[in-house]
Amino acid sequence: MTAAPVLDVRGLSYVLPGPAVGNRALVRDVSFAVGAGETLVLLGRSGSGKTTTLKLINRLLEPTAGTVLVDGRPAREADPTALRRGIGYVIQEVGLFPHYTVERNVGLVPALLGWDAQRIGSRVAELLRLVGLDPAIHGQRRPHELSGGQRQRVGVARALAADPPLLLLDEPFGALDPITRAELQREFGALQRRLGKAMVFVTHDVREAQRLGTRIGLMREGRLVFLGTPEEFGRSQDSESRAFREAGA
């Protein structure tokens, strides 16, 4: 990689505010960089700090130490709202707006950015097709009229709407049945190669990590205990890496 990474995280830490009772450091000194076309999978147990790390990147939480550079610019100096509009964000519960149609959900960020209706319309149709939905059939539906897998597809389309260079995905397929999950993983892999975005993908599923990650970052108790390619992960002698490999075998 010659160009500056899309996302550069250095020494990121997050300590819960309030009196120092017990362990309040949720993220400790985490550093990594993600370039265009790369997917870094943050793998770890529940409570290991994966989700918190994502929220520190788009400033849903403010880091207590360390820096986050998005496209070479410090996130701390950006307006949080503008920063988030330039970063796609997908969460496990999807969080589609139930009172909006699929089209309006997907077109939300472009609408906030002031795109005209025609441009939004064609972009929404393009994205729905990209994630395997038919704009004519699904566009006017409300989220409760969709299956879990379809909702998650809409969530991905929504995150891609304004063509952000960086995507943060927090266990996007975690709530799906195994078959739908495998299907979406397969399609997501193809999408990654086509789009060339920088992605940070959080999961606790080691097989998902090995399938989708160009690199895997393993987190434990707020620290990044391993960072490397899936092949390196497969050989890693780190105890947490071994524990995850055994769990996935």
Partner: protein, 210 residues
């Protein structure tokens, strides 16, 4: 004298009292919405204020209506005999359901929806206008419905402080032991409450987004 006969003779006067009644309830409800909805929204942003604000509204709501009128009369500016005192009392009664339902409606929005909105870069104002208020509209409207129906009832007592309304017939009828006169006020008041309730019910169904 039968009720129909009474209305045939005093139709104009009855309509006048009905108009006063509607005005009392209308003005006070609109004012209570204007105060209560923003206050409810404020509480969702500053949860520490929730206890004190709802506590005060709750205490005010608990004061018996006739006693509240009595307490307000001696107060300067807002008190005295007449519609002004009645409107203040009606606002006070309408506040609790409106504040409480606005707060409950907004806090009842699924956390994932709020997080997704914030994560996509919606400002607090955009989140409120585009997501939280539309999703909470049904619950807020239910609060306004309760407040209005209470208002129709309490407004009948407003006649005791010279504010007019359908309560005039009821108090006059009680004083003169005239059942027809009592009914002449009580029946339209009751029907008005039912009509208002039905109207808001229909409105609530229209705001339902599912």
């Amino acid at each position: 004298m039968s009720l129909l006969h009474f209305y045939a003779l005093h139709g104009g006067e009855t309509l006048g009292l009905l108009g006063e009644h509607l005005l009392l309830v209308g003005v006070s409800t609109i004012a209570a919405v204007g105060i209560g909805v923003p206050l409810g929204i404020f509480l969702t942003r500053r949860p520490a204020w929730r206890g004190p604000v709802l506590g005060v509204a709750n205490v005010l709501q608990t004061i018996p209506s006739l006693a509240l009128f009595g307490l307000l009369i001696p107060l300067p500016l807002i008190g005295g005999i007449g519609a002004r005192t009645a409107i203040v009392a009606l606002i006070v009664y309408a506040l609790l359901p409106i504040i409480r339902n606005t707060y409950a409606g907004i806090t009842g929005v699924e956390p994932a929806v709020r997080e997704a909105g914030r994560g996509m870069g919606m400002t607090d104002g955009e989140l409120l206008r585009r997501v939280e208020l539309p999703l909470a509209a049904g619950v807020i409207l239910a609060g306004i419905r309760v407040a209005t129906v209470i208002g129709v009832g309490v407004a009948t007592i407003a006649a005791a402080v010279g504010a007019g309304g359908l309560g005039v017939y009821i108090f006059r009828g009680v004083a003169t032991v005239d059942d027809t006169l009592i009914l002449a006020g009580a029946l339209p008041a009751a029907l008005l409450a039912l009509a208002v309730d039905a109207l808001f019910g229909a409105l609530e169904r229209r705001t339902a987004w599912r």
